[in-house]
């Protein structure tokens, strides 16, 4: 490492898809300004460093570490602890590190069931000996170890303390740049302690240009079942949209082009459980069931509408499962589709 006095930058991926690294590169030629301002100390996707290099750094050597990905295996967890120790500022970067994201949907099932799908029951798998990966294997030369696959996926801040959170799946490039620019120019960031930066504070609806009227919907439509009327609120048309329960900051990119918000920026300020908040909002837009209906009939009428929203758990907690109030399904119970 050169002793050129530049602050040290690291980026690491745990259980993630790699989209967050792409998002960082998506800031365009401003990446050159980042390169100018920082010395890369560790970034497996872009530069050749090894874990033992990081282990060799003194504690607090890395000035800024963007950590993306959820904590799925013991290796993810070890890296989280290592990078926490070596970094002055640790940022949970993107939805996986922030709140579990898609990997955390696995919390609705069990590690066994996942292994069964991957190594046994998929039609393309041929595994007559029913082999499964073993954390420890003894061979003539000694012991071979691979990371342990945990039962439950966690967010980064459920394993180590984080200083900042940049939400999004992936975070929007203009938001990434806004944060990096603030750091590069030495502007003061808000006080650390799991603070959300690079996003708004209110709901996506506030940024959404679609026209909103009173909502009374008779059923939910899946995207392939309906062509949305342009310029009109999607939820009003029965198209599931997480806007009312999701933090702004993305400029309502999805609703703008007729696709309901998926909720990737997580819950907005003051909301603990994004799915529960959205559930409450959905219940308010369903217009079925009135005081004229028979008391005994009401429940069936409403249930028929709710049935048009398949997989409520996976839909309402698509991104926030690890940080939801329940965090995971009871292991004994299977998943109903």
């Amino acid at each position: 490492m050169s002793a050129n006095g530049k602050p040290k930058f690291a980026m690491y991926w745990a259980a993630s898809c790699g989209g967050c690294e792409i998002a960082v590169l998506n800031i365009g030629d401003k990446i050159l300004a980042v390169d100018e301002a920082f010395d890369v100390a560790f970034w497996p996707c872009a530069a050749d460093f090894k874990v033992r290099d990081v282990e060799g750094y003194p504690d607090g050597y890395i000035d800024l570490c963007l950590f993306n990905g959820a904590i799925r295996t013991s290796e993810n967890e070890e890296m989280a602890h290592l990078l926490r120790r070596k970094s002055r500022v640790l940022v949970a970067f993107g939805s996986c590190a922030h709140e579990g994201c898609i990997p955390a949907l696995a919390n609705l099932t069990t590690a066994d069931a996942i292994f069964d799908t991957v190594y046994q029951s998929s039609v393309s798998v041929d595994n007559p000996q029913r082999l499964r990966p073993q954390p420890v294997t003894r061979v003539a030369e000694g012991e071979l170890r691979i990371p342990v696959f945990y039962e439950r996926v966690k967010a980064l801040d459920q394993v180590v303390p984080v200083d900042y959170i940049i939400p999004g799946c992936p975070p929007e490039p203009h938001q990434i740049w806004a944060v990096l620019e603030a750091i590069v120019t030495g502007a003061t960031l808000p006080a650390p302690g799991g603070t959300i930066i690079g996003a708004g504070k209110v709901a996506v609806c506030e940024e959404c240009p679609l026209e909103k009227h009173e909502k009374t919907i008779q059923r939910f439509y899946r995207p392939q079942e309906i062509v949305p009327e342009p310029g009109v609120c999607l939820l009003e048309q029965g198209i599931f949209c997480m806007g009312p329960a999701t933090r702004s900051g993305c400029d309502a990119r999805c609703p703008r082009v007729g696709m309901g918000c998926r909720g990737c920026y997580g819950p907005m300020d003051g909301v603990e459980d994004q799915g529960a908040r959205m559930l409450a909002a959905l219940a308010s837009v369903v217009g079925v069931g009135s005081l004229r209906d028979e008391e005994s009939e009401l429940e069936h009428l409403i249930d028929a509408v709710m049935a048009t929203l398949p997989d409520p758990a996976g839909t309402l907690y698509r991104f926030s499962m690890a940080h939801s109030l329940l965090e995971r399904a009871r292991p004994a119970a299977g998943v109903s589709p």
């Binding site: 013991s74 967890e77 439950r152 409450a280 009401l298 758990a313 399904a329 292991p331 109903s336």
Partner: protein
Amino acid sequence: MSESYEPVIVGFLCNWCSYRAADLAGTARLHYAPNMRPIRVMCSGRVEPDLVLKALREGADGVLIAGCHPGECHYVEGNLKALRRYVLLRRLLRQFGIEEARVQLVWASASEGTVLADAVNRMTEQLRALGPLRWRQTVLGGNGHQPEDTQASAASQPAMEEAVTP
């Protein structure tokens, strides 16, 4: 603790009907299961799903939401909103492996002390049959992760039912 298991029910009772039904059950000296911890809310439509989830997470074995009969809501349609939430919440909880009997919605008017008492009795028996939920210990504890919240700390933290039950 399993031999002395008493279900803990968190009851959200609406101010205008169901809380008065509970009051009536009391003044009428009805005998019914003491397992419900009543919380008065202004309307069943005020019961956010978060409140139900939080109760389950923090140690309740079941949650009872009680409101006015449809058409009798003090706020006209608050109980309909509660019903819509409840119906969707029920579908959600199924996916989390939480039995239907653990979260129930009943209508009890101010004059129906017996209806409320019966509902509490019935639910207590159902929960007794289902056994304790103990979400923190059985679902969130002991999942292989190393830091704080593995079995060690889950065991040292008293369950809500132990802390509350006399």
